[in-house]
């Protein structure tokens, strides 16, 4: 059979499309479908069980009048910004150090990476210990003779979120370092030679030449870090459980607590809808840049 007509578009690359069915289903049913379900129910009076009793924007009005929600947002912003900046900074710095053709590279790399193998629950627990003023770092320093030394981030609500950040960075920077290291290894040796011949100082080479060349790594890294930030939950629960008071609450915990502790699904869904919205606001421009721009030079 010779096909003279343009075949139906749907059947071109059939195997590829069949193979993509799990992805399409996941994207549409789980991510889009469940988000839609969530958004819908955020306008209802759902309590312990989902119902369709419509209440309009009530849940949102209540959400934004909750002190706890506002604190959660603020904490997420602080945690997010610092986590992003320091993950990249520390990750890149460590990678750059490891990339200096040093000895024991494997050892150092393993040391920096191993926390990533541990769950957030474990991370939170361990750092809760290390930061405990009664027997942790504060105690040691005091025992060394600095009687007035105070370092109790988990018990000081002004700085508790930084205590969480400390643990979060410990757990996550190893992976970022690996990504960065991989990126650095992908840079052509000649670039370094050229920069040296031109007499460009090391830091300038990194800043102006190497980092711009690592754009794809940074994109992958950003997706990984950002997804982790938005979802930060386990760490806070294990380390501070939102305390002291509500000083280290985060949005994901607000969602969880309202859904399951307060048995107010509607409120939890309203909060998660706000989170989805924020993600969309950040992600849509990115997707546009990634795919809108790429089509031109296929």
């Amino acid at each position: 059979m010779v096909q003279n007509q343009r075949p139906v578009q749907l059947f071109r690359n059939m195997s590829a499309k069949i193979a993509a069915i799990p992805m399409v289903l996941t994207a549409m049913v789980i991510f889009v479908g469940c988000s839609a379900w969530t958004i819908f129910h955020s306008f209802t009076k759902s309590k312990l069980l989902p119902t369709t009793k419509w209440v309009g924007l009530d849940q949102y009005e209540r959400l934004w009048s909750q002190n706890r929600w506002l604190i959660s947002i603020e904490n997420l912003a602080i945690y997010g910004i610092f986590s992003l900046v320091f993950s990249l900074l520390i990750g890149f710095m460590l990678a750059a150090l490891l990339d200096q053709k040093i000895r024991f590279e494997n050892t150092f790399r393993t040391i920096f990476l191993y926390p990533f193998a541990l769950s957030f629950i474990v991370t939170g627990l361990v750092w809760q210990w290390v930061l405990n003023p009664e027997f942790g770092i504060q105690k040691i320093v005091r025992d060394m003779g600095f009687e007035t030394f105070t370092f109790d981030p988990l018990y000081n609500q002004e700085i508790v979120i930084y205590g969480v950040l400390f643990a979060g960075l410990w757990q996550g920077t190893g992976l970022i370092m690996c990504l960065m290291l991989a990126g650095l290894r992908g840079i052509d040796e000649d670039i370094w030679k050229a920069a040296r011949v031109d007499g460009i100082p090391m830091w300038k080479t990194y800043l102006l030449i190497v980092i711009p060349m690592m754009r794809p790594v940074f994109i992958t890294t950003l997706v990984i870090i950002a997804a982790g930030i938005v979802k930060v939950y386990d760490l806070v629960v294990a380390q501070t459980n939102g305390g002291p008071g509500i000083a280290s609450e985060v949005p994901a915990k607000y969602v969880y607590d309202y859904m399951f502790r307060n048995q107010n699904l509607g409120q939890g869904f309203a909060a998660s809808t706000m989170m989805l919205l924020t993600v969309l606001v950040v992600l849509i421009p990115w997707a546009y840049l990634e795919f809108g721009g790429k089509k031109k030079h296929v």
């Binding site: 309590k47 312990l48 069980l49 002190n67 706890r68 809760q128 405990n132 003023p133 009664e134 109790d152 988990l154 018990y155 609500q157 501070t240 459980n241 939102g242 305390g243 002291p244 008071g245 509500i246 000083a247 969880y256 607590d257 309202y258 859904m259 399951f260 502790r261 307060n262 048995q263 107010n264 409120q267």
Partner: protein
Amino acid sequence: MKLIKTLLASTAALAFSTSAFATDLEVTHWWTSGGEAAAVAEFAKAFNEGGDKWVDGAIAGSGGVARPIIISRIIGGDPMGATQLNHGRQAEELVEAGLMLDLTDIAEKEGWKDVVNPVRLLNACTLDGKVYCVPVNIHSPQWIWLSHAAYEKAGVPVPANWSEYVASAPKLREAGVVPLAMGQQSWQTQLAFDTLLVAVGGTELFTNILSNKDAAAAGSAEATKVFDAFATARELAQGANVQDWNQATNMVITGKAGGQIMGDWAQGEFQVANQVAGKDYTCLPGLGVNDIIATGGDAFYFPKTDDPEITAAQKRMASSMIRKDVQVAFNLKKGSLPIRGDVDLSAANDCMKKGLKILAAGNVLPDGVNVLSADTAGQIQDLMSEFFNNTNITVADAQSRYVDIIKNAD
């Protein structure tokens, strides 16, 4: 070959002989500590005696962790045989949705109404005249536990009530003792507030606010006094850097703290540390101000299934939990009071007996958890926790937000 056949035959016969009455029931609960687990084991033992099998599904971390599991399993159509849930408002919706087994027939047959004391525990299990859960114990949160060692160190006598306790605080501070031990978890601060509410504010205020949701009462001058007392407690707890309630109790045991406001389950900790009530520590129900306790407690629910065998087994389990001997065995291990008035608890310790006496006199209050929805209770927890940990929030602020929550309570 022959051997295998015989073996098969005999095991089949064995299986048959027990299966006439044997059903596996999975039970979800969050009692995982040593004492709790020992208490649960009593239930399991009683249930297994009948030839059934108790399949344990313990999940630590209190209701917050367990609840999504319980609800998922129920809406997922593959529920557990029985589950722990705080009775009252929290399970109401599941009952209304027809997802819980109606236990009315065995409750009537066994006359639960007559044996459960106080009877409101059974009422909390009842919706539209039908019984849906088995209350298993009574816990009262309104206690303060005082350390004799700490007071010795400070050189002041052990106080007998809240105001004496507050007055003694500066001396404790001087002696390097934290007056009030308090864990970071929000339920602990809320518990302290409710305790002050009944001790300082009185029974009427307590019921007006928590049972009748009277916003005016929440904003009244009496309530302000409670908040003032709570602010005092906030001062007294400065420097108590612990997370879990039992770490706080440990501070009392070791004399690092003067006292702790905590439920009657705290005495388990004192027992473990070989402390003797009246000699090493003192317990004051209702903070020594108001000899009255609220009676909360735990209850078991039985999700509905289509399988008549399971339903029968669920009923067997329900009736075993409320049995006299099981109640005694369970509650002695759990450190709580039995829900039956007709059992002998001579083995109980000093503090427990204080509780029993108050109970017998009928000086009981409904517990906040029973009359507030989980949503309202959660909001109050957040507020109390925030207030307790942030000295920038004034009493007036906190009270006005409290009034808001009560006003919108459902």
